[in-house]
Structure formats: C-alpha cells, structure tokens
Symmetry: C2
Subunit: 413 residues, 2 copies
Amino acid sequence: MRAKIVTIGDEILIGQIVDTNSAWLSSELNRYGIAVGEILSISDDGDAIVSTLDTALRDYDLVLVTGGLGPTKDDITKQSLCRLFGCGLRNDEASFDHNREMLAQRGIPFTELNRRQSEVPEACTVLFNRNGTAPGMMFERKGHYMACMPGVPYEMKTIFAEQLAPRLDGMFRLGAVYHRTMITTGIAESVLAATIESWETGLREGLKLAYLPNPNGVRLRLSSYTLDREEAERAVEKAFRELEKIIPENIVGYEGTSVESAVADMLRDGGHTLSVAESCTGGRIASRFTAMAGASDYFLGGVTAYTADMKTRVLGVPQTVIAEHGVVSEQVARAMAEGVAALTGSDFAIATTGVAGPSGGTEQTPVGTVWMAVKTPWGTVAEVRVFNSEREVNIERASAYVMDMLRRRIRKA
Amino acid sequence: MRAKIVTIGDEILIGQIVDTNSAWLSSELNRYGIAVGEILSISDDGDAIVSTLDTALRDYDLVLVTGGLGPTKDDITKQSLCRLFGCGLRNDEASFDHNREMLAQRGIPFTELNRRQSEVPEACTVLFNRNGTAPGMMFERKGHYMACMPGVPYEMKTIFAEQLAPRLDGMFRLGAVYHRTMITTGIAESVLAATIESWETGLREGLKLAYLPNPNGVRLRLSSYTLDREEAERAVEKAFRELEKIIPENIVGYEGTSVESAVADMLRDGGHTLSVAESCTGGRIASRFTAMAGASDYFLGGVTAYTADMKTRVLGVPQTVIAEHGVVSEQVARAMAEGVAALTGSDFAIATTGVAGPSGGTEQTPVGTVWMAVKTPWGTVAEVRVFNSEREVNIERASAYVMDMLRRRIRKA
C-alpha cells in the first residue's frame, strides 16, 4: 500500500513557507501501515495541478493533497479538481451552515468569498472541517483514492484524524510498516557509528537502521517494511535492548521524546521542581519546558537576565564575581543557577551564560562559548562548551546540552 | 531558467524530520532569478535516486540535491551518483585534510567512516564544505547542472553561499523573477480580501497576488515572472504604496520582517528598553526577541512567572489582586507588566497571563483565554482574547498579539 503526498502552493516553491504538513501526514500514514513513496510540491498552476494529480492517482493507491483551498483569488485547486473529474461545483449545506456560524462567533462578517468556500466538486465526498471554513474532499477512481485538505496545519490534522483516518481501514487492506526510534545525546554521529558497528552488522535481516542527527543529538531509527507487525516489534525491541547495554549513558528515550521531556518525567516522578536562569539562551529553555502540556507540575518559572544588572539584582550574582571573572564564566553560571533556585524555591535549577553571536566574541571568549550550570540538592556543577555555529544553532545546542546535564545528574543520583 | 530541488532520505518520507532546506534553497534561487518548478522528496533507495536524478537533469536546467551524504551506512547517494555518471570514487585531498583537522579540534577520533567521507565521484567538481565533513559535489551534463549537498542545514547553506552561488552567473543567463511581500497583522484573511478587493482587481497585468496566513497574521505577496526586473520593482512598489493607504494600521513591514523585528527597530530607534513578564507564553516572547541578533540593544530581560508565588514575590503582583480577580485577569496582567518594568527599569514592558491548554480551562475562563498587557511611558493597556486552538498555536498567537499591541502603541505615540 503506497501513498504520495502533494502540496500545492507557490509559497512553498518560492521558499516563503516551510512545508510541515507532509512530515505530519507521513508519520500518520506510517502508523496505519501505508508507506509514503514521494512527497511533491507543485505550483498554484491549473495545468500542473491537473496533470500531477492525474498521474499520482494512477501510480499510487492513495494521494493526499494539501493547500490551495483558501478563500482568496490565488486558490485554483477546486477548479482544477472539477476539470480532473469532469464535474461542476455544488454547495455543501453542512459546511455552509458551519462557516456562517463560525464567522459569526468570531465577529467576522460573512462575505461572498466565504460563501464560495462551501462549494465543492460534485464528484467528491465532503470531509467536514470542524476547525475552519474550507471543507476537505475525497475522490475515488478505479480503487485509488485522493483526499484534498486545506493547508492550515491544525485544520488539516483534524480532518485527517476525524474524517479520513477512520475510513482508511475500509479503503485498503493495510500492510505492515514499523518504525521505532531511539533518541541519543552527547555522542557524535561518527563515534556512535563506530561504537555500535558490530551491533549494527549483527542486525537481523528485515531491519533497516538510519542515523538522524540534529542539534539535540543523534536519533537511531530501526525500520521494518517486510516483517509482519508482531515479528517486527519483537525484533526491534530485542535489538534496542542490546543497544541499551552498549550506550546506556546516551539514551534519552524513544520516539518523539526529547531531553526536556525526559527531564520533565524525572522531575514529576520525584516530586521535584525546576527553575531556569537564562542569559544567552534568552528564554528558549523556559519556552521548551512550557511548550509541553502539564509543565506547571514541576516548572516554577525562570528569569531571562540579559543584563549584568538583572543578574545582580534579580538573581543575586555578586557584582564582585562579575567584575573578577566576567559575565561569561563558571562562577557566574553557578551563581545564576543557585540564585534562581533561591528566588523561586525550586530544588533543581539550570543556568546559561555565553555569547550566542554573531558578534560579541573576544579572543578569550569566542562566539559560541557558553558556560552552563545545573543546581541539584546534591550540589552544583558547571561545564563550558564552544558551540561553533550560527546564533540560532548555538542557542538550540546550549539549551539541549544543559538540559542533558540535568538529565545525567538526576539519572546518576 | 528553471530548477528542481530533490531531497533524499527516508527520514523525510516517514515524517521524522521536516524539510526546511528546500524552502531556504527556493528562496535563494528566486533571488538569483531562478524559478523552482518542483520540490520532491524521495527515499534512500539506489534505483529511485538514479532514475529521479536522471529525469530531473533532463527536464530542468539546474537540479539541487540535499541529503544522503552522512558517514553512516544508510547513505547511498554517492554510490548512486557513480552509477548515474558511469564513474568511480576518488579521494579529495582538500576535504580529507580538512576533515582530519576538524575532528581533531573537536576531540573526536578519526575513523574509517570519516576517511570515506572525503571520497567523491570522479565526474564531479568538489564544492568544499567548510562547516562539515561531507563535501558538496557538482556535475554537468549537456549544459544542465546538478549540485549535491549534505542535508545538515548550516553546512548546506554555507556550501550554497560560498561555492555554488558565485558560479550561477557563469552557468546560466539569469532571468527575472521578482517577489515582494507585505506583512500584515490584526485582520482576518477574508476581511482583508474584501477590504482590498478593488485594489486587487486593479493590479496591472504581470503582477500576481497571494495571501499567506499564519498565526502571526496574513502576508501578501506580489510576484512578477514576466516583467523585466526594473519594471517589476516599480510596479510592485506602486501597488504597495496604494495598499499602505487602505490598511495603514495593519502593516508590520516587508519581506522577512516580523512583529518582533518591527518592535525591535522602533525601540532601538527611540533609545527605549523592554522587559517581559510571561505566564502562559512561558518564555516564548523573550525567546523570540533574543533570537534576533543585537537584542541586547533594547532587551533587558524577562521573568517567566509560572506560579502565583512568583507573580507576587518577583513581579510584585499584590496577593489581594490575585485573590480577588484570579490569576487570569486584566488586573494581574497589568500588575505583571508594571512589575517587570519596575524590576528591570525598562520603559516598556509586555505581560501575558492565560490558559494555554489543553487542560486548565473553566467555564468563565476557557482554554485559550489570555489577558495581555503593555506598559509604556504613556500608561498601561490590557486586552483579552480567546485563542481557540491547540496549546502550541495559542502560545504563538498570544505572543504575536501582545507584541503587536506594543507595536500599535508605539506607532500612535
């Protein structure tokens, strides 16, 4: 069972927006045992839309299309679908009523443009859009299916989950695709590869390994496309159990987990609390913790101290320490972590002070230098790293690194 | 002059990573007058790589390939390139020396895997990778060109900028593609479309308008693919000047600008300073300001007060105010903004308090409710909105909304 994902929109081809929908849809389809063969972005051009979708519907069992369904004049997907299926437009009453009510609630006037949004090609089955005004549409041709959804991510996700996913089982005899991913941190890709080489060579037939590095670490994915589901699960489980013995220190967890999520679980389980004091990471660490639902279980708060004055007055870093050692120093990082813990009453704390770049570096403290400290009930530790990259990556790496310092400290306790 | 972008990697097709490289490359190619016709993601499969690249190199003047060049066993792009061009591998000495030195500096041992990274197909010209160990490669066939680069974003970007971009002029007679985008905020897409309808209808031939909504607002892009460069610039400039008269309140700026960047410019120009007090946005606002280089010119710092206790003790919100009005209230938002300004000595301040979700809502204060306050030298204002979406979107919208409140206040002053 193979699918193709097609996104429509000049905004993608000129690089104005990043296509995040396709990754989400691919991941969902894989869960249902449907492998994605290709992801293609094409322009808002009627001829390109018709010929691309025609070919895709011939070559693939399932075609998922996103984008091109907004209320404004740049959107020509619906007209192209009418051409492809040789039909006209009809009004969908359920969508019409929903749209009128939705805009009324938001206090937005109902315009002619909004009225046209509930029009759909006669050949389609409507996939109701609870979160928006552009209905999804499903088409069938010779046992192959195509679903078109708006490009707004949370509208698309809801339509997929509520309208499309429940129908997949009836449309196809679903096969088995199985992936499981281990999240590692603190070990470079080439060192990791050398460390686990004999384990990798010994993987049973039918399992495929992939290395996926990012600023937070290297993820290791095992995939099976040929084994049946239970056999695949058992084989992957066994392989990862072996790997856990080889690199126990470097494993954060599995699947979509992250170092902050691992730390959050540990803190929650132990009934602990956390606060953060950030200089060069500028609120990124607080933002990563609070992006997770339920952060208030353990996260008390944070201070982004972008000036020396705030470090002194709010966090209680002694002026003499700053004068003697400089703002980017082990002593200041330690004092910040201890200061924010004292301020908030948390038993754990994290602190960063460094030079994110692109300017502000010196010979002694080049751009990318970050001192990081972790305060726990068993004491405070500090480490320095030079994250020799661009501002955004330096902020991301320092955030991940200091969160992992905390993870390792709790793990060893 | 038309290009195709191909990304290689199962991690994209199973939805494990989002492809951000293609958007960046598209945007760069457009600057050089090269239009991107398609973006395609394919799997780490030798046959698929060979046949896809063969076709692409026939149909397009330029093919940019990213991904599939890591040191580990899942990467088979180089072998496929040798098949496509009928050649073997050779060692590239400059890359070899660079890789050995780079790993030595980082204290990572040099392995057999690293040695193989400096091997390249004999048919290619090497595009030196200053930031990494996988060299870029350029191929030519019948006046069509293909460049292959690693998938790590900052390595790819440096290779493009330093090695590929300077060669484009010699490779092609570059045409003219011109885009310019206005960033609007605070007006719904359908209302905006109705408001500017007669302006849109009156656009001169050769200009194409696109609406690009996201949680921060709607961007309006004018594009020309047919006019010559100077004519396109003049026509677009004239059209936007007219539009500025129709929606003056809603314009943040142009191109890659953002509401935080507009605020940053205004603060910097006026010699002002800013601090933030965040509850439900959890550090996101601080993080968005500090993600921009030079934030220390105006940004003093922030407090993420996730508990009532921190709001009281650090920000000085009176306990009686919280007891009487609740944590999510106009009074608390105002007191937080004024409290953080007093704490840091900034003349401007932003505050948020709300329910990001998914849980924590009540009948009176449903999930998505956020009180936002802005403190300026001319007084403090507060507004409430119900951002009726998922946690991540609620955080993003509230952050954008309150930053825009500040923008509007400074603009009117």
